[in-house]
């Protein structure tokens, strides 16, 4: 069954590529030869076959067979639209191509990367050097563990709106969101989708791991317009970027501890001070100033250092840390 279907589809592609003029369904049936004679059965099978070719990315064109006949549709595949343009690669380019194809291994676009590689090899490109010097000792990967990645990429690609349930930070239950997605971006190992939240009438960024359940396509292809000049990477970056750090904290940090804070300390304290062998007396303390933006977030960060870091100033930060610690004690 499957074999006969492959044979039929292959003949159909060759037939439609071999013609310059549009062929009617009947002409195609005769040329390909293996379609059923019964008109209804042929029509159904031909419709399915056309759909199958389109899914493979084969540019099947529909047009009028003759200018006098408005009814009869004809079909053809234009070679120029079908064929991969000439592409030649230098050996070093072919080597990084192999590296790029490995990025998606086992992830959502793995099949697509393999398909692309197959076509490029078919165009005469030799990728056997991909395991050579250029890619040695380097292993790139991107994972797409979030189930929402596949449907969101399709939605972005086909410009379709989506709806999904989303756990906003700190909420007790997920909420339904309606989004015109503009793009998906991986930042610090997490996937985000950015776009127009149509309920709120504003640009929003969502983390894919917080999407609960299925992502449903809620409109036809082409119905989403990405505003001209939109840089989705920039949208996600500016959303993710911390607020300007306008305040400073004065902290007492025990020798040999608090590296995560020392690295951000004002002045030249990059963590070398007080590390390993103590520069001061054992059990001694350094005072450092660290910029911060959000009291609650920074209080959590400082609290995580326990008895190794003490807030001297400002008082609201000090209170927030004490309250965090009391919470952990409860």
């Amino acid at each position: 069954m499957s074999r006969r279907k492959t044979e039929r589809l292959l003949s159909l592609v060759v037939c439609l590529l071999s013609t310059r003029r549009y062929l009617t369904a009947e002409q195609i049936r005769e040329a390909v030869g293996v379609y059923p004679d019964q008109p209804e059965a042929f029509k159904r099978m031909f419709e399915r076959d056309k759909e199958e070719l389109r899914e493979l990315g084969i540019p099947l064109e529909t047009g009028r067979v003759s200018p006098l006949d408005e009814e009869e549709a004809g079909y053809r595949i234009r070679r120029q639209a079908y064929e991969l343009p000439e592409i030649r690669l230098e050996p070093d380019e072919a080597a990084v191509l192999g590296l790029a194809a490995r990025v998606w291994r086992h992830a959502e676009l793995a099949g697509a990367a393999a398909g692309a590689l197959l076509k490029l090899r078919a165009a005469g490109i030799d990728t056997s050097g991909a395991d050579g010097a250029a890619s040695q000792g380097i292993e790139p990967r991107v994972h797409t563990d979030e189930p929402a990645f596949g449907p969101l990429w399709q939605a972005v690609r086909d410009r379709r709106p989506v709806t999904f349930a989303y756990w906003a930070a700190g909420r007790g239950e997920p909420q339904r969101r309606n989004l015109e997605p503009w793009g998906v971006v991986n930042r610090r190992g997490r996937w985000y989708v950015a776009g127009m939240d149509t309920d709120r009438g504003a640009v929003r960024v969502f983390r894919l791991s917080r999407i609960e359940g299925p992502v449903t396509l809620s409109g036809p292809p082409g119905s989403v317009t990405v505003p001209e000049g939109t840089d989705v990477r920039e949208v996600v970056r500016s959303w993710d970027r911390a607020a300007p750090q306008r305040r400073t904290a004065l902290l007492r940090v025990r020798h040999g501890a608090g590296y995560g804070l020392r690295r951000h300390a004002a002045g030249k304290q990059d963590g070398s001070q007080g590390s390993g062998e103590h520069t001061g007396p054992a059990g001694g303390w350094d005072e450092i100033t660290v910029p911060f933006a959000d009291v609650m977030w920074f209080a959590e960060h400082v609290a995580s250092y326990g008895a190794d870091v003490v807030v001297v100033d400002p008082p609201d930060l000090r209170e927030a840390v004490i309250s965090k610690l009391k919470g952990a004690l409860a």
């Binding site: 005769e30 692309a116 000792g137 292993e139 991986n186």
Partner: protein, 344 residues
């Protein structure tokens, strides 16, 4: 008489059409058609290709490949008289396609295909210190040109690469990996809030999810370890050859970078809605919804010091359920910290 009723193209092996064995999973009609359409240009662009090497390039057995070739050879159209548009032979194990008619060139790249490669290449191009940058940008330009319109949606997917500090750590690591040299580094371990000094024999540079890691044999831990490049406080390439023990197993990057081990401590945490991020941020064994946005999280870890720090951070939004000793430690940590505030 059509070709389908004949024996098959000239062959030294005598396989007949329709005998194709299926190694592994059977391909769907669509997958097989994709392969058939690539097979003809693959051979045509090389003038001739060996059966064995072609089968390997397409990831099929030689029997499957021969079956594909027979199927291509059997294509017959009527225009209006029957003719066979594809002629080929694989005599002596060498494929030659003498007539390929209309399918001599591969099909254009689909949007997904162009995107998969372009997104990956743009990510690689952002990794600082990769010396193949010029090859990367030339390849990106060529693929964009070849893909045409299909390249456009790839701009809507991106993997952001964290730029590490300006010390050129990536370049130094690349050099050490390529020249097989030992490195000395100061490395920050946030889970323990420690800056550690260690010698490492580099194995690979991993770029996973836009983050760069050095994989190497840590001579301090006497084990394979991953070091995040943005946590390296300083690195020197030593004039000592790297010596990675023969038994050192590289990390299986496809299984996730951090795998629990059976010796790990089993930790159970409850978090309320503001602490749900914990389940996304750390590799968890299982996560249960408790209602009202609360979660019960099970995880395994060789070192619970980071969990203690996490609990201080969570405050009232988190609680250790098990083990009891860890719960007691967190209380001690919190009271020791509060004692500092009482004293000042």
């Amino acid at each position: 008489m059509s070709r389908g009723q004949q024996g098959g193209p000239r062959t030294s092996r005598g396989q007949k059409a329709g005998e194709g064995a299926r190694a592994g999973q059977p391909a769907t009609s669509a997958e097989r058609l994709r392969r058939l359409l690539a097979l003809v240009p693959y051979v045509v662009s090389r003038e001739t290709a060996g059966l064995a090497e072609t089968a390997a390039a397409f990831g099929v057995s030689e029997r499957e490949l021969v079956d594909d070739l027979n199927m291509l050879w059997c294509v017959e159209l009527r225009d209006p008289y029957p003719y066979c548009p594809i002629d080929l032979s694989y005599e002596g194990g060498e494929i030659v396609i003498s007539q390929a008619e209309s399918i001599g060139r591969p099909l254009r790249l689909a949007v997904d295909e162009a995107s998969a490669l372009l997104v990956a290449l743009r990510m690689l191009a952002e990794v600082p210190g990769l010396e193949d940058r010029s090859a990367l940008s030339r390849l990106i330009a060529k693929l964009e040109a070849a893909a045409g319109e299909a390249a456009a949606p790839s701009a809507q997917v991106a993997v952001h690469v964290d730029p590490p500090d300006g010390d050129g750590v990536v370049a130094k690591v690349r050099e050490a990996v390529a020249r097989r040299r030992r490195v000395h580094m100061r490395y920050y371990v946030p889970g323990r809030d420690e800056a550690t000094e260690r010698d490492v024999d580099p194995m690979r540079l991993l770029v996973v999810e836009g983050r760069a890691y050095l994989e190497g044999w840590c001579r301090r831990a006497e084990a394979v370890r991953l070091f995040r490049l943005d946590r390296i406080l300083g690195l020197t390439v030593l004039d000592v050859p790297a010596s990675v023990p023969a038994g050192a197993e590289p990390v299986d990057v496809d299984q996730g970078l951090f795998r629990p081990s059976p010796d790990d401590v089993h930790v159970v945490l409850d978090v309320s809605a503001p602490g749900r991020w914990v389940a996304e941020y750390y590799p968890c064994e299982s996560v249960e919804e408790l209602g009202d946005g609360r979660l019960r999280i099970h995880l395994r870890t060789p070192d619970t010091r980071w969990v203690r720090r996490l609990m201080l951070r969570l405050g009232e939004d988190g609680a250790v359920i098990a083990p009891a000793a860890l719960r007691a430690q967190v209380r001690e940590d919190a009271s020791a910290a509060l004692a500092q505030y009482a004293a000042t």
